[in-house]
């Protein structure tokens, strides 16, 4: 996974550790202070559906800005060059806008507490249980991978033993989530967002000066890697060769449509942030507000990856030398003096912990709400479920710590993680999109679409790609293709099953499919929500146009 090379030890001193210690103390403080706001299970799982849009929006982007993402995208920058911007401008923004403008009224308006619960209402118990179990298992596993990645980075950078990092970081996440539930997770994510920017911006500024600005990077890398390395689309014609191993069609359909829509619109660790917003307008604005920082994050993640490649041309060349994943740690070591260095270490650590906390807080919601309360112990008083959720958090973190130790036996988990997303998120997205827009879709179709879509992606990955039945040049390219396969198989099966089974009566679908409205009176708009800069359509289209404009300098 994140193999960091030896000799990356950072020259940290007492000043840096002071900054780190302050952060840990503040995070624990948030946990204790948020505890008194938790009275009902809704407070614990969704912050009582009461947070303002700017907080949920920043938490939405921060939950995705985990350290595996930061180190991984800088690594992609060094390995694939400017192509990496596709993960942001085509691979995130359109899906985020779609979630906010089109899907959120159904999610938030139907008052569900989780993504699987939406499936319960739209289709029925079989799809509900299947997706809840898949989600619960995968989020604990991913939490473990995050924890293990954190431990590896701390071992390389600070020289901490693996088990110390796993136990310490696990304990802090456990403490603040158990105390304050989603509110502490979201507050910590907002804080982490600012700390990681306070680390990455100085790093980029100093790095740019070192390599002679953007012109310096372009001259050096165009010379070494060819001109296409510094562009977004050159060399992506079908049949032509490029480092990404993907052509424009797989980029647009695989990454831009199915993979990214699958991740951003149905991954509960993300959607949960929007469901905690205080009203429908705030919920719709959550992913739209998040889209704007997301557009500019490549400037402080991909550019450092390119800078690192200029400074250390041997990056990723040899087995035991510096790896692509080392891009940001190398810059931290070589460019940041004590002080800002401490902020950078804190930011990375905070990002790892926030990534893990997002998995744990969505896990405890789905397990308690969608498995325990729905099928194991029904109709207990609300207090019982709050207490259960706290215990589930403890158990979830402990299992996460366990899987962290198991994760250490795998060699490359970064790609494996992306593969898991193509297995589980894409089929879920198919079921959602068809179920939301085609009223006739039957409960049976939902279940079989989910199951066969998942199976289809797995067959493509393990059989067609791994056994070499079809020729795909890279793991990333294979993930794009698996996603397209899952999408096609899932939708064909859903249409076929729908034609032979019985749909739900129309009155049970009110507010769950496109063109219907939740029963009851529409909620009154919040005060000031009609201001022009808070209009979802304006924010959404603005983000799309801005992302398209960002492509221009890299396309011609």
């Amino acid at each position: 996974m994140l193999h960091l090379a030896e000799g990356l030890r950072l020259p940290t001193n007492g000043l840096d550790y002071t900054l780190l210690g302050i952060y840990f103390a503040v995070v624990l403080g948030i946990g204790f202070a948020a505890r008194r706001s938790v009275k009902t299970s809704l407070d614990f799982f969704l912050s009582g559906r009461s947070l303002p849009a700017w907080i949920t929006g920043l938490a939405f982007v921060a939950a995705n800005l985990g350290a595996t993402e930061i180190l991984g995208m800088a690594a992609n920058g060094a390995q694939y060059g400017v192509y990496t911007v596709h993960w942001y401008w085509i691979g995130a923004i359109p899906a985020m806008v779609f979630l906010g403008l089109v899907m959120m009224p159904f999610y938030y308006g139907s008052k569900v507490r989780s993504v699987p619960e939406f499936l319960l209402h739209r289709f029925g118990p079989s799809s509900h249980l299947l997706s809840s179990v898949i989600f619960a298992v995968s989020s604990v596993l991913i939490a473990g991978v995050n924890l293990y990645a954190l431990a590896l980075v701390l071992k390389a950078l600070l020289g901490w033993e693996l088990w110390i990092s796993i136990v310490v970081a696990g304990f802090f996440v456990l403490a603040y989530i158990t105390l304050g539930g989603l509110s502490s997770a979201i507050y910590t994510e907002v804080l982490q967002f600012f700390v990681i920017l306070a680390a990455l911006i100085p790093l980029t500024v100093v790095g740019l000066k070192r390599v002679g600005g953007w012109g310096g990077i372009t001259d050096t890398l165009s010379g070494e890697k060819g001109g296409a390395f510094m562009t977004a689309w050159d060399g992506t014609g079908i049949g032509s060769d490029n480092p990404l191993g993907a052509n424009w069609l797989t980029i647009v359909l695989g990454l831009g449509f199915v993979m990214s829509f699958g991740y951003w619109t149905t991954n509960f660790a993300e959607v949960q942030r929007a469901l905690s917003a205080k009203n429908l307008s705030a919920a719709r604005r959550t992913p739209l507000i998040a889209a704007f920082p997301k557009i500019f994050i490549p400037a402080v993640v991909v550019i450092p990856g390119l800078i690192a490649l200029v400074m250390e041309p041997t990056l990723g060349k040899t087995e035991d030398g510096l790896q692509y994943n080392d891009a940001i740690p190398v810059l931290m070591r070589d460019l940041l003096p004590n002080g800002v260095l401490g902020i950078a270490v804190t930011g990375l650590l905070a990002a790892f912990m926030a990534g893990m906390a997002a998995n744990i807080s969505s896990f405890n919601t789905v397990f308690t709400n969608d498995i325990y309360a729905a099928y194991l112990k029904k109709d207990r008083p609300d207090e019982h479920y709050v207490a259960t959720a706290r215990w589930v958090t403890v158990v979830g973190v402990l299992i996460g710590m366990g899987t962290a130790f198991i994760a250490s036996s795998f060699s490359n988990i970064m790609n494996y993680l992306q593969t898991l997303f193509s297995f589980f998120n894409v089929p879920l997205f198919v079921v959602f999109i068809i179920g939301m827009f085609w009223k006739k879709t039957t409960p049976a179709a939902g279940f079989w679409g989910l199951l066969t879509g998942t199976a289809g992606a797995m067959v493509n990955y393990f059989w067609f790609y791994k056994q070499g039945v079809i020729d795909i040049p890279s793991d990333q390219g294979a993930n794009f293709v698996s996603s397209i396969v899952a999408f096609v198989v899932g939708s064909v099966v859903m249409v076929a099953v729908t034609l032979f089974t019985k749909p739900k009566p129309a009155e049970e679908l009110a507010g769950l499919v496109y063109g219907t409205r939740s029963p009851g009176e529409p909620e009154p708009p919040g005060e000031g929500d009609d201001a022009w800069y808070r209009r979802p359509a304006l924010l959404g289209w603005g983000a799309l146009i801005l992302a398209a404009v960002c492509y221009i300098p890299f396309s011609f």
Binding site: D43, G48, K111
Partner: protein, 104 residues
């Protein structure tokens, strides 16, 4: 909410349950404002890092390509922290009206 006695689909029962929980929810009333935490942390960080910048050694400056990066980052963090505290001061959290009273 209208109260009719015909059995409702599961989705509507859950929606009703959520409305009940929303009324009893304490987050809006009792959760502290995150702007206070962001402001406080960044003011503290800003002061510490700015001081580190004021006493920057030759070696530190050379490492950061002759930019006094601690000083600039520290000042920027201080400004951000103060901005959050001022924002909190100018538009403090308004505790929402007790919803129970309004609805019953």
């Amino acid at each position: 909410m209208s109260d009719n006695s015909t059995p409702k689909p599961a989705a509507q029962q859950v929606a009703k349950e959520i409305e009940e929980l929303e009324k009893r929810s304490q987050t809006a009333a009792r959760l502290f404002d995150v702007r206070r935490i962001i402001g406080g942390l960044f003011v503290v960080y800003g002061v510490i890092v700015t001081i580190a910048g004021i006493f920057a050694s030759e070696e530190d400056l050379k490492k950061a390509q002759d930019i006094n990066i601690n000083l600039w980052t520290g000042i920027a963090m201080l400004i951000l922290g103060v901005a959050f505290l001022v924002w909190l001061r100018l538009s403090p959290t308004i505790p929402p009206p007790a919803e129970g009273e309004a609805d019953e």
